[in-house]
Symmetry: D2
Subunit: 396 residues, 4 copies
């Protein structure tokens, strides 16, 4: 039997703020009521602020982020369409897998797990092959803690004169890391409720550019589809409704979540994530450990995948953390199973939460056989958090 709350550091689902939990605890209501659009239309408007898309729109699907991946593809691409993708972690892998299963002709660039999108190689392919219909980017690879440079991909697309669609998996970035759908020319941007939006899973968001909307609306475009069809959504959404019963509870939660994000301000949200992440990284470094992300340019501010020392099993670190110390770390997945454990530092956390994560990691690592200088990781993070605290130490 465990006591106290489970300290949740998986990189999603993230901790749900109490304000959001309260907002979701609603009785059911008629989703066809005349005042229902009073809830939904501002949600759509505010989601556009978070995605930073003025001319596009954001769809809300009752699905996991995987569903929005499929929506992005099935509305805009046809079987046989050539697309450019790269694979450097479990989630970029799964999107490639989906694209292949849905019949796309995937040019898949495999990259060492620990790096991100190979922009230079993208440039070469784009220059060489004008028939690439879509370019895919996993903005933040949750499995390895690697953030890629979406704007750079847009630049090489433009340089190559490509009119391909730019499709971005922002599931573990949007709402946490800098994201600028319109500025970066992202045509399809996938997000999920259970990451930066600090909601339970069950709602995916898909930001769609004007261009992608036009592509989807063209006669005969995309694949046979119904559940994820843009047209059904547009018709219903424009009036503030949905083509099928929406998850009303999550919509109320999303209202609270958007309020939290917009009240704080997106730049502040991004800065906060960076600060907490940096503390964790300094702690990792002080413990003599390294990240899966092979260079600072790839460092993710939402999740750190930490390499365990030789001879230590990362899965054991997670198991021990969970069973012995009531802490949930993310396990290493697929190619890095056993080689890493992950600390998610996105969403509703603060300094002391992250210090708890490091303290627990130190114990679990030691229990799993690592040599640990106890308190060293915590101390390095403490120094960072003290130096960068928002409130001054001296009372006003």
């Amino acid at each position: 039997m465990t006591h106290g709350h489970n300290h949740l550091f998986v990189p999603g689902p993230t901790n749900v703020p109490d304000r959001v939990r309260r907002a979701m605890n609603v009785p059911m209501e008629d989703h066809r009521a005349p005042d229902f659009p009073g809830l939904t239309l501002p949600l759509f408007a505010d989601l556009k602020k978070v995605f930073r898309t003025g001319s596009g729109r954001v769809f809300l699907y009752p699905s996991s982020g995987t569903g929005a991946w499929e929506a992005a593809i099935s509305n805009t691409l046809k079987p046989g369409d050539r697309v450019l993708m790269s694979r450097f972690g479990q989630f970029s892998h799964l999107w490639v897998d989906m694209a292949e299963r849905l019949g796309l002709e995937v040019i898949c660039l495999d990259v060492e797990w620990g790096a991100g999108v190979p922009v230079d190689q993208y440039a070469l392919h784009l220059s060489a092959d004008p028939d690439i219909r879509a370019v895919f980017v996993t903005h933040n690879e949750t499995a390895t803690g690697v953030t890629s440079d979406v704007a750079a991909v847009r630049r090489v697309m433009d340089a190559a004169g490509s009119d391909a669609l730019l499709c971005v998996d922002g599931v573990s970035s949007i709402g946490s890391l800098e994201f600028d759908q319109e500025g970066w020319g992202v045509d399809l941007a996938v997000a999920g409720s259970q990451k930066g939006f600090m909601l339970p899973a069950g709602l995916s968001m898909l930001g769609v550019s004007r261009k992608a909307l036009d592509v989807a609306a063209a006669a005969g475009s995309g694949m046979p589809r119904c559940y994820f069809d843009f047209a059904d959504m547009i018709k219903a959404n424009d009036a503030g409704y949905f083509p099928y019963t929406p998850p009303v509870q999550l919509l109320h939660g999303l209202r609270a979540s958007l309020d939290l994000l917009l009240e704080e301000g997106l730049p502040q949200v991004v800065a906060r994530h960076h600060r907490l992440a940096e503390g964790v990284r300094r702690g990792v470094d002080a413990l003599g450990l390294s990240l899966c992300a092979v260079a600072p340019q790839w460092h993710s501010d939402t999740v750190s995948a930490i390499r365990v020392p030789e001879g230590v099993d990362g899965a054991e670190v997670c198991r021990i953390g969970y069973e012995r110390y009531n802490v949930s770390f993310g396990a290493g997945l697929s190619k890095v199973a056993g080689l890493v454990f992950r600390i998610g530092h996105l969403g509703d956390l603060n300094e002391v939460s992250c210090l708890g994560a490091l303290a627990a990691a130190e114990m679990a690592l030691a229990d799993a056989g690592a040599k640990v200088d106890f308190g060293a990781g915590v101390a390095a993070a403490q120094q960072h958090y003290r130096e960068t605290a928002a409130m001054p130490a001296v009372a006003a």
Copy 2:
């Protein structure tokens, strides 16, 4: 500004019992934790009890019921496959529409709205056409309050020697009306969280027979698919996990909901729905109104679509109910828009709730221009409820 709670009589989302609401109000957790299957495996087992399928399995999709419709089709049927469907309300219409959009060759039998599946015509088609690959039944047409006879469809399929798949939309029946997946030979049975399961929308259930599982597993079967793919689900579910982040909150709610249903006993649940529905019907009759369902054989125990008198607008009845009396009725949809209003009497309701629905309907009808003998509908229902109350009037 309204006061008191909204009296919710739409036929879904239904009222969420307090016990279920409490169960859903959980902090997030790691859906890959070692003890997570302790939650999920019993859910799968108990869902099989509710669907009454021993040899099949029940999938849980983070989607609306529409998603499970699509899952049923895309895993087992190919574009060009000939299927037999019938259309007699908005929801049977939408499933036909989906089937056509997904490329099936649909034999669609149109039936007057107010009746249900034309079993005799099904028999004729099945005898005449051995290439029908699937037969579709909307068990309970929510738009018209019509329940069809699934067992009879199975009988004519068997009589015709059909090996087609029997696909049933049980969204507004399973968990409320009698349903026997295995006994009736249903291959694909669709349900949704927001009806008889008394949960918010966001989770669909798909009961799949052994035969349908085999069809789906055959090489090259079905359509290109990923999000709704059975194989991914099976692989993950067998270990108690999901191929993507599941809506954990709803899973906890489902635990409470299944406990409620199984503690009461499914026959008792069915009887309770019948009793409440019968009271409403007697009230409707006493008010001199008729149901959209044209004969008692079609009467639905989960929703009554009530024809408004000539010269009265059913939409006005709903609007007035909502704005003036804080009551949510279901509006007439599509062909019966304005001609009916609907009282959902499924899920977590009781006698006094239904009497409130009738009392409110009387007022809204009168306000909308109908001649109403006030209290007459209520009185007829009262008599029924008194005569059939579970607890005796005299103390034990």
Copy 3:
């Protein structure tokens, strides 16, 4: 096993609005935190608006209303002090009992249950006896559904030149019925969270006039006391704190409750209670029943105590309502046990709730042996509610 929600018509605890329930669902916090007064000081200010006292203050005790009764007495009166009280129901009886047990010399005027404070007799006593130190009024006697005229008591006090304290039990009136502490010269006004404030029990409010505060502050005043002592409260409250750990959850609920009351406007709240009560009374009348309140001047807009016909046991009506129909009525207490049952119509209710109460009452009465014209009570109330609905029947 019952289904659906219990329809709660006891005259307290009343139904808690969802918004208030959500507001209470908070994690614990430090009640000595620097920002805690940000919660409490506006509560004190807004309570003064509800009590309508400008120069006095309102205390919040972690107790039932009985505690505030005791606080009113123990801070301002001494054993042996002569006080004028009247008794016409269980709650006025209990306050008399408390006064006697605390050593006051009580002049108790017994009145037929069904009438209220005998203002003329009060006038006689006040004229004859200048040593009366306090005059007690049960504003709304919850046991009989009788509202007394506080302003009239103040007038006879003034006419007699009395400087006694005017002590009012407003537990089932404040926040629902018209109440004007300063206008009526009420010195001590008792309220409880579980009535018009639509909160769970556990918090009592005591509005104290400037005069009563001065009396309490005088050297040697009142009785030995500690828990309910004004001085401790004042010292802590002035800074936004409490002398002991306050029920923080209820304070958050009170915030939401006050917002609801003040957003609607107190006159509107009072009018709403009158409208719903009047519908119930018309229903009672149409059923050929009479109220315990013997004349319209005594009619309470928060609770109706309904006399059962000869030969019917009011307790059976309540038992049957609860066990057979999942409805909670208030039972007759003490002298009127078995003779009445009560419908509380205060707090978060609306028309359809009250129609449900009447419909259930009709059934329970019939089951208990009364001759009932089914639907008649409902119909009379329907007519009233239609005629007086806030929203017009015709759309704007």
Copy 4:
């Protein structure tokens, strides 16, 4: 604006477990319903298990613990009764103050803050003065983190042949520290909901021995009282009811809280508190700090009051913790204001929570001007927690 949850380490209100929070989130109900005793009677029975009193009973008051202090006195003692008390912290001080204000003749032994009940001096007084009617013990002085030896007080009472009542303040001990009402011969044992019972404030518990019940029941015993009167409670409680509206929400929470305590087992609860406390103490020691408790015999397992170094303001440590790091520590009260800060380690906490408390304390201390060896306190606690973890590091 702060993010993440506030890390709450005040020694009450303590963190409410999610299971308890859920249990409290109930609609209102009739507290006079026939099945209400089904909730309350098991609560009374299980409270007796937690207090460990077989022949006595436990009262539940809607009040803070201060109310139960008053109940203990006012039901059993008369003005002028001589009682033996000791004072060594803010809460023992307040009980002395109450006793004096209620007219008792208090022999008050003042003890250095940091030590506890002076058992030897109690022995002298008891031997010398057979007229002492009650002996008071603050079992756990929350202000200084000092636990006293109740059993030893009972022994000296017995040795002196005293028939005085033994009154114990167990507000911050019962449900967390070893407590044995019957074994220790405690006559009146006060507890509060917001400490070891892990509930919001608003409910106090008073365990009363058979002897104290007899004393209270004797003609003319105690003081004038009503709200806290035992007799009213007994009469109502025996049937499962209350003399006034009880805080039903908290009763449901108490059900969950008692389930948690009894499922774990009281000895395990006590051991868990000791283990967490010991880790905090080792951390304090490693930081070169000392406790307010002057010797290990006084160490409290529910709260540690930590002396700040010379030149550092303990109030600043608390302020900085709260404003800069979203952590709530207990401030020093009264005589030790500014000299200590307090970490409450009772209730629903675990290792990582306590490590977070130490990490935050290190930062806040440094910010307030202390010289801190960062991570040193955390490391000492980590070692302790690793060595004493319930689950083995190696998987079964």
